[in-house]
Structures are given as C-alpha cells and as structure tokens.
C-alpha cells in the first residue's frame, strides 16, 4: 500500500512550503532571541517595576497557547484597525511566546555563574558592565546552548501552526497535497521527514557549538 514512488515524485512540490517554513523559523528565532534578552534584562533588573513587568510578561506568554495568540493577532487586531499580515502575525506570536521561555533560559544561565566571580571581578577594578561582559557572559553563554537548542526545535515545530491562518508553509502545502492525492501516510511522512531534517540540523549545530565552547568546570 505504501507508495515510495509517489513520495519521490511529489517531494519537489513541497519545496515552496519548506522555504516559507525556513523564513518563519529564521524570523521567529531571531525575534525570540532578541526579545528574550529584553525579558532577561527586565527580570534581572534591580528596578522592581521592570522586574514585575518581566514576570507578568513571562507568565502571560508562557501560559497561553500559541495557536490562540496567533488567532488574536490575525483575527482580533483587525477589530481595532490593525492588519498585520499572516506571516507577521505568526512570527510575532512565536517570537513573543518564545522570548518568555528564552528570557528564562538567559536568566537561569546568568544566575548560575557564582556571584563570587562578579565580586572578584569588581574587586579587581572592573566596571560592573565589564565584569558582566568578560567574566559572567562567556561562562553563562556556554550553559545556554543546550536549552536554546531545544527551544529552537520547539519553534521549528510550532511554525506549522501558521497553516491555520493560511500561511502557505510546509504543513499547509502538505495538507493541500493530501487533499489532491488522498495519500495521508505518504504526505505526512514526507512532512515529518522534512521537519526532522530541519530540527536535526539545529541539533547538530548546537552539538557543534557545545563542542567548540565547552563548559569548563
């Protein structure tokens, strides 16, 4: 029953969708990494207002489904006269939710570097920014790679949700192919393999980074 020839024949037709998915992935990961830095800056801040804002943002973003966030941005904003495009809505929702997670990853990694290191650096006459930049950050960033890698994998998989607001990405293209062919196993397997290809390249990248920048005991 399983039709390998069908898969070989139709794989090229998923190319356009794959490119849109790659675009969503690149924009969302960039957005989430940047947004995460802002969130971590808030939660690590000494100012209580900023700190509180960061915490509220994290809780709201983490505790609502990304599908709902996308629907609010795409279908909800028009009622107040804003019309973000479908791609923008998807990228915004994915960036917003993941910046909450990534902000926490940054914060945990930074706080895992012993406070004594900062104290020593300050005692040596470094400014607090220099201590952060040259002592804390190099150590913290090495500890961020594995959790950031899994977060990137979540983002890649979640881009499929953009198909619900008519973004013609990989899943959307696949569903259309499924409708034309009526071959669910073959189509879903092809889609799954392409996602696996994307996620495993991220996995390899993270492994490489971990190898290049090992955590020193």
């Amino acid at each position: 029953m399983f039709d390998l020839a069908f898969m070989m024949r139709n794989l090229p037709y998923l190319q356009e969708g794959l490119l849109v998915t790659l675009q969503l992935v690149a924009l969302s990961i960039t957005g989430a990494l940047t947004g995460g830095a802002l969130v971590a800056a808030c939660t690590l801040s000494r100012w209580r207002v900023l700190n509180g804002l960061g915490r509220v943002y994290i809780e709201v973003m983490r505790n609502t489904p990304v599908l709902v966030q996308i629907a609010i941005l795409y279908f909800g904003l028009p009622s107040i006269g804003l019309y973000p495009s479908a791609v923008l809505s998807a990228v915004l929702a994915l960036s917003m939710q993941n910046s909450a997670y990534i902000g926490e990853i940054y914060r945990a990694a930074i706080q895992s570097v012993s406070i004594r290191q900062t104290e020593s650096a300050l005692a040596l006459g470094m400014t607090s920014w220099a201590a952060f930049r040259h002592v804390v950050l190099p150590q913290a960033s090495r500890r961020m790679f594995p959790p950031l890698g899994s977060q990137a994998i979540f983002i890649i998989k979640d881009t499929s949700i953009a198909s619900t607001i008519a973004v013609a990405e990989l899943t959307h293209t696949g569903k259309l192919m499924l409708d034309r062919s009526g071959a669910p196993y073959e189509v879903f397997l092809m889609i799954a393999l392409l996602y696996l290809l994307l996620t495993s390249s991220v996995f390899l990248l993270v492994k490489g980074l971990e190898h290049r920048f090992p955590v020193k005991a």
Binding site: T164, A166, L176
Partner: protein, 302 residues
C-alpha cells in the same frame, strides 16, 4: 499456533507438524506431517478470505455505524447552541444508520477537520464519511463515492462594502478571496480570479472569520454553506449571483475496494434521495435548507 519448528526440535511433539524435521519417519509421522501441511494450506487460503470480508459485515456485527463528519461546516455539520453535533449531514447519517441497523441512534460520529476527512476513512477508522465532500473524477481514484445526496456548487459570498457585484469582478488584485484549504478551492481561485489574492484556511469557519474580520472581501464556499453564512450576517454579507463552475454533488465517501458496503450504502442513499424513503429525506432537507429538495422524478408517474 506454531506452524514450523527448527531442525533441532523434537519431531514427535504432539500436534506440531515438523516441516524441517529429520528425514527418517514412521507412517504415523508422515500422516502427521500431511495433516500439518493441510492445516498450513488451509490457513493460507483462509487468510485472504478473512481480508476480503466486507466492512458491511463488520458494521452489522458491531451493530453501530462509525461516520466521519465535520463540526465546522454549518448547516451540514456543526455544533449548535446546546453544544450538540447536528446539521443536515449528521442527521442524514442517522437516516443511513436507521436503514442499515434499524435505529437512527446506532451511530458513532468521528469529527474531523477539512484535511482530516479523507484520512478518516482511508485509515479504516470510520466506515464512511459525510463531510461536505464534492465528488470529482480525480477524487474517484482514491475514494469510493455514492450517488450524491445533495446538489452542490461553489458560490461566492462578498462583503457588502467591497463593491463586488458579479463573479467577473473577482478577478482584480484588490480582491482577497478566501476558502477552506482544498485543491478544488485552489484550482477555482486560479481559474476564475487569477489576479486576486487567494488565501486558504483550515476550514470554512476560519475562512468566514477572515471575511468577517475584514481580512478578505470575498469567500468561496459550497452553496449551502455560502447561503448559511449570508443568513448569519445579512447586514454585512451578500451572495453573488451564479456559481463558480458547474453544478456538482456532495456524496458519501468510503475507502475504495469494498463492493458490498458501497452497494448497500449507495442503494440506501438513492432510496432516500429519489426512492421509497423520499418523504423522510424531504423533511430533513426542508428542516435544514428551508426549501424543497429536487423532485423525486422530473416526470409525472401515472
């Protein structure tokens, strides 16, 4: 049961034919071996016979029909204010159960999205589907269709403020034409409005929402659904006169290759739509569409 054993195994084990046993055998062993071959051969013959058993028998034995329907395709299949699954197709599925099993309540519904409707029967999870599926020749290769249970066609709903007055007006770059994500919808958009921006959503609910929220100014849908959408929003929406393409039909669909099941369901559908149970069909049709179904015969029976 064990059908073979290794050369090292004991050939005299009761009831177990030794296909690879040592060559020296008594007469009794030969008889036993022959019996073993017969058992094996009969099982080989029985295996395809089992596989060919019609799903119709399975349904009758199960005493319940499993039907794949949609819940986002009013008025054919949707969730009403009481939170119950209903609609023309859901109720028609009950009529099929009534004809097959003698009880309209002997149905288990499996709700799918637009993209889940074909896999639901092809995977064998549901016996058949009634999911606003139009029969098309290219779909006939992968699915078994019955005679249509209703006429269908593709109509276009537009926003009243869009200034679109005819189907010809759709072919304009200022038009955003939305629909559920199906190949037929994509093909129609390319064919009738190649200049318009076309978007395809998970289902009709989302596509209609895009029209309502002002994301789009035109929405193509099955005629019944298009009429329903306009009836829900008469102040904002209107129906364009005419159809995109030819009149076609919505059919019950099944996994192909099961003739007894297909024949039974097709006969039942025909009996409702134009035969002995036409009155029940007409009542159902009036209830959901507020109009008369096509006459039982186009000529007068004397």
């Amino acid at each position: 049961m064990v059908l073979y054993q290794s050369a090292n195994g004991s050939p005299s084990q009761a009831g177990r034919p030794g296909f690879f046993a040592a060559s020296a055998r008594s007469g009794a062993q030969s008889v036993r071996r022959l019996a073993g071959w017969l058992v094996a051969a009969s099982m080989l013959l029985a295996a395809p016979a089992l596989a060919m058993e019609s799903r119709l028998d399975t349904i009758l034995k199960r005493d319940k029909l499993i039907v794949s329907v949609m819940s986002t395709s009013a008025p054919n299949g949707f969730i009403d204010e009481k939170g119950e699954l209903t609609g023309f197709e859901v109720e028609f599925a009950r009529l099929i159960a009534k004809a097959m099993l003698g009880d309209p309540n002997k149905v288990e519904f499996m709700v799918t999205s637009v993209d889940g409707r074909f896999p639901s029967v092809l995977s064998g999870k549901a016996d058949m589907g009634l999911s606003s599926v139009t029969r098309y020749p290219d779909r006939a290769v992968r699915l078994a269709f019955t005679t249509p249970y209703m006429d269908s066609g593709t109509a276009v709903v537009v926003r009243r403020d869009a200034g679109i007055k005819s189907l010809e007006d759709l072919n304009d770059p200022r038009v955003t034409l939305v629909a559920g994500n199906s190949t037929a919808m994509v093909d129609r958009a390319k064919r009738y409005a190649p200049q318009a921006k076309a978007l395809f959503f998970d289902g009709d609910t989302a596509a209609a929402l895009a029209l309502k929220s002002g994301r789009a100014n035109a929405y193509q849908a099955d005629l019944a659904m298009a009429k329903w959408t306009v009836a829900q929003n008469p102040d904002d929406f209107e129906l364009l006169p005419g159809l995109l393409g030819n009149i076609n039909g919505n059919s019950v669909f099944m996994k192909p290759g099961d003739f007894p099941l297909w024949l039974a369901v097709d006969t039942i559908v025909q009996e409702y739509v134009s035969g002995s149970r036409y009155d029940e069909y007409r009542e159902l049709y009036r209830k959901w569409y507020g109009s008369e179904p096509p006459a039982q015969r186009f000529y007068t029976v004397k």
